[in-house]
Amino acid sequence: MKELLANPVLVKEIKLRFRNIKSFTGLFFYLLIMGIFVFGFINLTSSISGSGFFRPEESFMLFSMLSYIQLGLILFITPGLTAGTVSSEREKQTLNILLTTAQSSFQIIFGKLLSSIAFLLLLLVSGLPIYSMVFLYGGVAPSQIASIFLFYFLTLLVIGALGVMYSTLLRRTIVSMISTYGTMIFLTAVTGFFLILSVSLSSATMGTGASPLSYFWACINPGVVLLTLLEPGFSDEIAQMTGIPLPLWVSYSIFYTLIFVGAIWLSVTKLRVNMNKYR
């Protein structure tokens, strides 16, 4: 682990990023807005209901909203942070030198990925106290917060790895950005659309709500999986409807881990030219 974290690329980029005062103002405003949102919501709902209390159902609603906002943040910011990591070095003509150093391709890719998602990780972790304020009011289990954070972490890593992969394979940052955002939109909106399509199709033809295909579209869609994490009952329903007992989050984890491994593998093998023409 220490070996991994003593990564030169990681150390350098983190140093650069956090030298920049913009990073801190970004963090500050994020926490500020999140704080205002949470306290505003609590105040507003308790005064509207007239009871002066913030009830567990309301607390759960706030928690769900926050969870989706953070997921959206991850989905929209990660491509921007990672899709230029390698290609921008190519464009700035610093890549050649980097590739002639003694660092392994894995080290470089790993350092690039971790350093570019580090800021987002910091945002998520520093928002944790405000986030968990909500569960003081009940309605949310601590284990739920933990599982949702693991889910965030996996999603972040996968979108990040895809960004780094496109950035390595495609020469231009702009093309890589478009591809990464495209893939992200596929995994969210397009799978969502297909899910709706296959659900309505199967209910029209078979009268039942869902087919295995629906299960597939559901399990790779982060929005749907987050819903099952928030509402564990929903997961059981899906299992009954589709006849697949495996919880969505398990399939999601397997599928996304595979994507992650594939993306990292491609990046590592394609970063440098293959010098050996006989292989």
Binding site: L98, T101, A102, V273
Partner: protein
């Protein structure tokens, strides 16, 4: 020790590099000369493990670049012809990053970096941002960077381009020091005289093919069949011109009036040359001096590349 065998790089049907064979002794400085697009950077990129050769092989200190590129990288310090630097990074941090990239620990880096900055004359800039340094300074910093892991072999692609005359002299000094430290240095340029001074051997490349290889002197001799001879005379030119015109080995006689000098191209051997002088003396020509002009390497270079073009 660098060994190159049949190295070839093709882009489509175009040969950027064609069957290059070279052997460079350990501790020597090898100069690679050629016009734009001759294939110098292509060769160096392959040696630096950045470009896959179409065919052929190369060994650096006995390590095959195709089979063990990772090991090769530890042996070489590479300076590309064009390179960028990171924004918002200070000179010291820049070197520190690359030091870490070669696995040097923090203590080693702390000792090395001031020394390297001293070597390339950038000590006063150690806290400046690299992207704000002048081009020549970046160039020197890049050389310092290439030295950080104490590589045995240096591959420098036009390290002096963009440097002012003073910095060029300084660069030459630095290279001389590095040579004294026993490093094998490959250096490219399209300016031959610049290299001739500091190189042990030269290779001249044109359109991807090595057209001459050897010591500076041997290249000059090999590539030049005619020498320029100057004759300083007092008084009568006409007779002298008539005399030299009669010799079949002489051509292109020109007079440099105001200095009283005749110049012509001479094809003969040293022996013939002696004969010519003797005959001229006995013919009673008023000769004050008879000498072979130092030929300009630049001229030789122009001649070689021109010759290759017409082939």
């Amino acid at each position: 020790m660098i060994e190159i065998k049949g190295l070839t790089k093709k882009y489509g049907s175009f040969y950027a590099l064609k069957d290059l064979n070279l052997s460079i002794e350990e501790g020597t400085v090898f100069g690679f000369v050629g016009a734009n697009g001759a294939g110098k950077s292509t060769t160096f990129s392959i040696l630096a493990t950045l470009l896959q050769p179409t065919s052929g092989e190369a060994w650096i200190n006995g390590i095959n670049i195709s089979l063990h590129p990772h090991e090769v990288r530890k042996q070489i310090g590479y300076m590309p012809d064009f390179f960028g630097v990171y924004d918002q990074l200070k000179t010291e941090e820049y070197l520190d990053f690359y030091g870490a990239s070669y696995g040097l620990d923090a203590a080693q880096r702390a000792v090395l970096i001031p020394k390297l900055l001293e070597l390339v004359n950038l000590s006063s800039k150690r806290n400046d941002y690299v992207d704000l340094l002048s081009r020549g300074m970046k160039q020197r910093l890049c050389l310092a960077r290439a030295l950080i892991h104490d590589p045995k072999v240096l591959i420098l692609d036009e390290p002096a381009s963009g440097l002012d005359p003073r910095a060029r002299v300084e660069m030459r000094e630095i290279l001389r020091e590095l040579k004294a430290m026993g490093k094998t240095i490959l250096i490219s340029s399209h300016i031959l005289p610049e290299l001739a001074e500091m190189c042990d051997t030269l290779g001249v490349i044109d359109s991807g093919e090595l057209i001459a290889h050897g010591s500076v002197q041997s290249i000059q001799e090999k590539l030049q069949s005619e020498k320029v001879i100057s004759v300083k005379l007092t008084g009568d030119y006409i007779e002298a011109i008539r005399f030299f015109e009669n010799d079949p080995l002489v051509s292109q006689i020109t007079e440099i009036q105001d200095r009283g000098i005749l110049q012509f191209l001479y094809k003969g051997t040293e022996h013939d040359q002696l004969d010519l002088l003797r005959k001229a003396m006995s013919a009673g020509l008023p000769i004050l001096a008879f000498s072979e002009e130092e030929t300009d390497l630049e001229d030789v270079f122009m001649e070689i590349t021109k010759g290759a073009e017409t082939l």
